[in-house]
């Protein structure tokens, strides 16, 4: 079991002192620990994990470069208005729940409503500059559930709030590029053509302070019908207005020139499911009908198939980083991870904690843990 309450957290320097007082073995015999850490920080943590307990503790300490982990926004079948945040650590193969957001204001989300048939109402979140941001959802009175973004920082293990959104959304087009969050279109309390055409930008590096900046809007409300995962790619925010295989329109926002342009034909024709861009450089898409993962070739304006797998059928959302594509499966019942570096590409399944479904996955640095669990127990 992970001890993660603040009262038990011991700062690394003090912990070293305590360890020395109890004659704990050095990380590398012959070197003081702070020097051994310099050497070990050059090794992939999956190697360190397998050598001994002290090397295993090291990779979770806040003085050690944090390795990437999977973060999931989950919903629970038993408590249908609750939203949960978990992280899957691929080094120990262990799910950990995030500390809950502050209870004030309490986060109560409406997931299902008769007017939306069998689909869940959208919950929209994004990863930006090493933070997890929750931005749009629906509350029980069919109002927007969030008037300001909720931000989780894994390294500090804490939640904060972002600037007040001028028009809180039940859903929108949500994307990130170069450390800024972009919110376009969508619907707030009720439909408004102004909101449906709007674009707002929030720069987390704070050059304009803690505000949403109004940017050049869309020419009509065609992108307001659905929750949209907009994709930041090479200085553009790219999006389509209909999910899945149906005919759709695509558009790209140029962040430097503050203008909207058409999406290239080839890019649009291959956008038949969820899309993500690795390092905002290489775009990947899952064709939910063909169950195929493809990579976009910008020079040829064409998609190249990377792998085909039944497990990709009906995929709902993607995250891409560290040579891996994480996929929320159809219905949110599971998560697949594709290694796109190896040739041929390989796919693994990640089981969710029992009783949960995935609304979204993101890839972020792991949280520091004072005492990692010794066994991998799954909820």
């Amino acid at each position: 079991m992970a001890a993660n309450t603040n009262s038990f957290w011991v700062p690394p320097s003090k912990r070293r002192k305590i360890l020395l007082e109890h004659h704990a073995p050095p990380l590398i015999p012959g070197l003081p620990d702070h020097i051994a850490q310099l050497c070990l920080s050059l090794i992939h943590p999956s190697i360190l994990f397998s050598v001994c307990h002290s090397w295993r503790r090291l990779i979770y300490s806040s003085s050690f470069p944090p390795f990437l982990s999977l973060y999931a926004v989950l919903t629970c079948k038993a408590y249908s208005d609750s939203i949960h945040f978990y992280s899957f650590d691929p080094i120990s193969s262990h799910w950990r729940s995030l500390p809950p957001p502050r209870p004030d204001p309490p986060l109560r989300i409406l997931l299902r409503h008769p007017s939306f048939l069998s689909r869940n109402l959208p919950i929209q979140s994004i990863a930006v500059s090493g933070n997890l941001v929750l931005l749009a959802a629906t509350a029980h009175n069919l109002y927007p559930a969030l008037s300001r973004p909720l931000i989780f920082n894994p390294l500090r293990r804490d939640w904060n709030v972002g600037p007040l959104l001028p028009n809180p959304r039940r859903w929108c087009a949500l994307g990130t590029a170069r450390g800024s969050v972009y919110v376009a279109s969508g619907i707030g309390t009720q439909f408004s053509i102004d909101v449906a055409r709007s674009l707002e930008k929030w720069d987390l590096n704070g050059k304009s302070g803690e505000v949403w900046e109004k940017k050049t809007g869309l020419k009509d409300g065609r992108f307001s019908r659905d929750a949209i995962d907009a994709v930041g790619w090479r200085g553009k925010i790219c999006m389509v207005n209909v999910k899945g295989n149906a005919a759709k329109e695509g558009i790209m926002y140029d962040v430097e020139n503050d203008e909207w342009n058409d999406m290239p034909e080839g890019m649009l024709s291959g956008w038949r499911g969820p899309v993500a861009a690795m390092d905002e450089e290489v775009m990947y898409a899952v064709d939910e009908a063909k169950s195929a993962l493809s990579k976009y070739n910008a020079k040829n304006d064409a998609w190249e198939e990377v792998m085909q797998s039944e497990r990709l059928r009906g995929a709902e959302q993607l995250a891409a980083q560290g040579g891996r594509i994480c996929v929320v499966s159809a219905g949110g019942v599971g998560i697949s991870v594709v290694d796109v570096v190896s040739s041929p590409a390989r796919l693994w399944e990640v089981d969710l904690p029992a009783g949960f479904e995935a609304a979204a996955v993101h890839i972020l640095p792991r949280m520091p843990i004072p005492e990692p669990p010794e066994s991998s127990d799954i909820d």
Binding site: I35, C39, V51, C52, L68, I91, S93, G323, R324
Partner: protein, 166 residues
């Protein structure tokens, strides 16, 4: 700045004296700082470094000082395009020593604040670990295997698709 023909003397923990040029001494932030504070006429005591290690550090500082000087002459023509790569190869060979000495070099580089030597020597330790099995790693560094049999069994199935790190 003093001319490059000027030398200073450093003293190891074993009491041996080593002469180094100013340019070589500048490779070490600590020595540079001590010279600024106390002047160049006295011998600089480095009691944290033994003679065997000191000899290696002297060799490193001289090599890197010569490399820098050659870069400054001819606008770098003397070094050429492959110069940096050659220096790196020299560093790799230079660090092919047994663990005890390598660790002493790391400690000396840390103490003397020679960043490039600290970086290279730590990388040399990391390179010893890469590509090895956990058992081999433990053997190289004399580390006790403190996993239970259950924990060891789990190691095989864990951690199959971890993300790449930069």
């Amino acid at each position: 700045m003093a001319s490059s023909s000027k030398t200073i003397t450093v003293v190891s923990s074993d009491g041996d004296e080593f002469e180094m040029t100013m340019k070589a001494a500048e490779q070490s932030k600590l020595i540079t700082h001590m010279l600024d504070e106390f002047g160049v006429s006295d011998k600089v005591p480095l009691y944290n470094v033994n003679s065997e290690t000191m000899a290696k550090v002297m060799e490193y500082c001289k090599k890197h000082a010569d490399h820098e000087a050659a870069k400054e002459e001819d606008g770098g023509a003397a070094i050429g395009a492959g110069g940096e790569e050659e220096l790196k190869k020299w560093d790799d060979e230079f660090l092919k020593v047994e663990n005890g000495l390598l660790f002493n070099i790391i400690l000396a580089a840390n103490y003397l604040e020679i960043k490039s030597l600290l970086d290279s020597s730590c990388q040399a330790v990391a390179d010893m670990i890469k590509g090895k099995t956990p058992e081999q790693i433990r053997e190289i560094f004399n580390i006790k295997n403190d996993f239970t049999p259950e924990e060891e069994a789990k190691l095989r199935s864990e951690n199959e698709w971890a993300f790449q790190e930069d």
